[in-house]
């Protein structure tokens, strides 16, 4: 593990020691192996303890971890014959939202979601997962295409928010998001959404108005970033931790408020420590969620989705 978060320091130190021990001695003497395995079980224990009680600000950092599995990881592992479709047919192709056709457990699906990118170059290509209006207009096009061919939709949510920029505003960022929400609400095929990392504000909900909404255990979903909230209400981004706590942006709080349906447990130490397992587990619950919607016809799916959202907001937290 090359990239540690601030609160993982004690764990990082021990892992460093393990690394040293392994390199210091060429001979695999029993003593050293014994020491390594002791340290390793200590690391596992600490990871389990630490990750069982992450505070909301720590969760935000885990949700944004650069090694966390992103959209492309999920698709390559879960979707067969993935066939990306490009462009909004109005202005351009926005790689901050990727989408396309494919097969999931043998059945046809439309999959789309935010992609943040894996390394510097990739992040630039995908604009750090921050879509322009074209991204949302492409999403709308794919939603309608799915409906036209009676194909269920899976959306994967991972964005700090829609891109704040001059061109994005000029080309109607707000209108594009509003129409995307409107389209999600109107669709007569099943929609299942999974927040895989960061569910950042309007840029996230634009493609997350679903029949079934899932969140990864350490993902976040919020009306505003903790930093943004802190700089407005506390007048300084330094209070991001306080804002994260006040915003109740964790999956555990959202399920209590009835805003999401299911939390997908992550491997010990977070999805970034075992991306393949995290993605497999997510795949299992996505499949279950789609299966549970099978009995409903198009009108029921549409009506139930609308009623689900209208009913939200009646349950507070204690």
């Amino acid at each position: 593990m090359s990239s540690f978060l601030e609160f993982e320091k004690p764990i990082a130190e021990i892992e460093g020691k393990i690394h040293e021990l392994r390199h210091l001695s060429d001979d695999n003497s029993v003593n050293i192996l014994d020491e390594v395995s002791k340290l390793q079980s200590r690391v596992d224990r600490m990871l389990k303890q630490t990750y069982a009680k992450l505070d909301p600000w720590q969760k935000a950092q885990v949700a944004r971890h650069s090694l966390r599995p992103h959209f492309k990881h999920y698709v390559s592992k879960l979707i067969d014959d993935f066939t990306p479709l490009s462009g909004d047919r109005h202005y351009g192709e926005d790689k901050a939202i990727i989408g396309g056709l494919g097969r999931f457990h043998g059945n046809s699906v439309m999959v789309l979601g935010h992609e943040k990118g894996a390394d510097t170059e990739d992040r630039l290509t995908h604009n750090f997962g921050m879509p322009h209006p074209e991204g949302y207009r492409k999403a709308i096009r794919l939603f309608r295409l799915a409906e036209q061919f009676s194909i269920p939709v899976i959306t994967l949510i991972d964005t700090s928010g829609a891109h704040p920029g001059i061109e994005a505003e000029e080309r109607g960022q707000a209108e594009a998001i509003a129409r995307s929400i409107e389209t999600c609400l109107d669709l007569k095929v099943p929609i299942v959404s999974l927040v895989i990392g960061e569910g950042g504000s309007g840029g996230a909900i634009a493609i997350a108005v679903a029949n079934s909404i899932l969140m990864m255990e350490h993902s976040i979903y919020s009306v505003i970033s903790p930093e943004g909230c802190a700089s407005i209400l506390w007048r300084s981004a330094e209070y991001a931790k306080d804002a994260a706590i006040s915003l109740r942006l964790t999956a555990q709080d959202l399920i209590k408020m009835g805003l999401i349906d299911k939390i997908v447990s992550e491997p010990i130490g977070g999805a970034h420590r075992n991306p393949d397992k995290a993605v497999d587990d997510a795949g299992h619950f996505l499949f279950e969620a789609l299966k549970s919607l099978q009995g409903q016809n198009g009108d029921q799916l549409r009506t139930n989705r609308r009623e689900k959202f209208i009913a939200m907001g009646q349950i507070g937290l204690s």
């Binding site: 704040p164 001059i166 505003e169 209108e175 937290l317």
Partner: protein, 300 residues
Amino acid sequence: MSWLDRFSRTKVSGLFRKSDIPEDLWEKCTNCEQMIFHRDLTLNMRVCTHCGFHMHLPPKERFSSLFDDAEFSSMDLPKAPLDPLKFKDRKRYTDRLKEARSSEHKHTDALEVAHGKIGGQEVVVAAFDFSFLGGSMGVAVGNGLINAGKLARELKSPLVVIPSSGGARMQEGALSLMQMARTTVAVDDFKADGLPYIVIFSNPTTGGVTASFAMLGDIAIAEPGAVIGFAGQRVIEETIRQKLPDGFQRSEYLLDHGMVDMVIHRKDLREMLSRIVGILMHNNQDNIKPAGNPTVVGST
């Protein structure tokens, strides 16, 4: 019992009576910072007498300015759960709410709904109160818009929404984010009845409010000089590290970029609304009051 009987039907009229207006108060224009006689400002519908900037018009005054003979019935809005997150920043959300609900505001949140006649046509108008926590949209505002939509469907009347809002209400966290979907259902269910939904953008309309019901109007009208957009200007400047162009995110800029149908001066809004709803509702010209001749400040 009709669904409508649940609303209070108190008639309010003549809010612009001269005797109510204090003679000796001055107010500063939020745009040019010139001092204006309170009385002049009120008589001018809170449009600056120096620079023409359209300052925030509180809902009650807005209703008076739009409905025929300044007569309308206010709708009681349902109560929303108080402080669902137990939110606290430097202040408690409950305290901010209490403060906002004190003396100035008789209403309970940032949205007020009324119905009455505009050019003889029954219309439901929902207006945001920017002075109530920045007109921010939480569960109460969402409920208000849902009810406004239901009322307009019941009355088979056009629905006019006048946003003036910084966006979603942070103190209600993800619950306020969900209002983007709830309000979209509200206006789309209404539109499905074949009735016109008109949005009048007033200063400012940003964030989750713009990116949901506000951008879904059949007709989009903007008051001159209003800031309308998704991202805040400071956030954009910090992201792109360059100065924003003149007039960026203002009504006229949005008109140029095809985002609104027209920019209309406040004094002409009533006439323009009356004309548009008259045409869309197929009202026979003989049956309605003459609509006057609205000046279009900007249109393509």
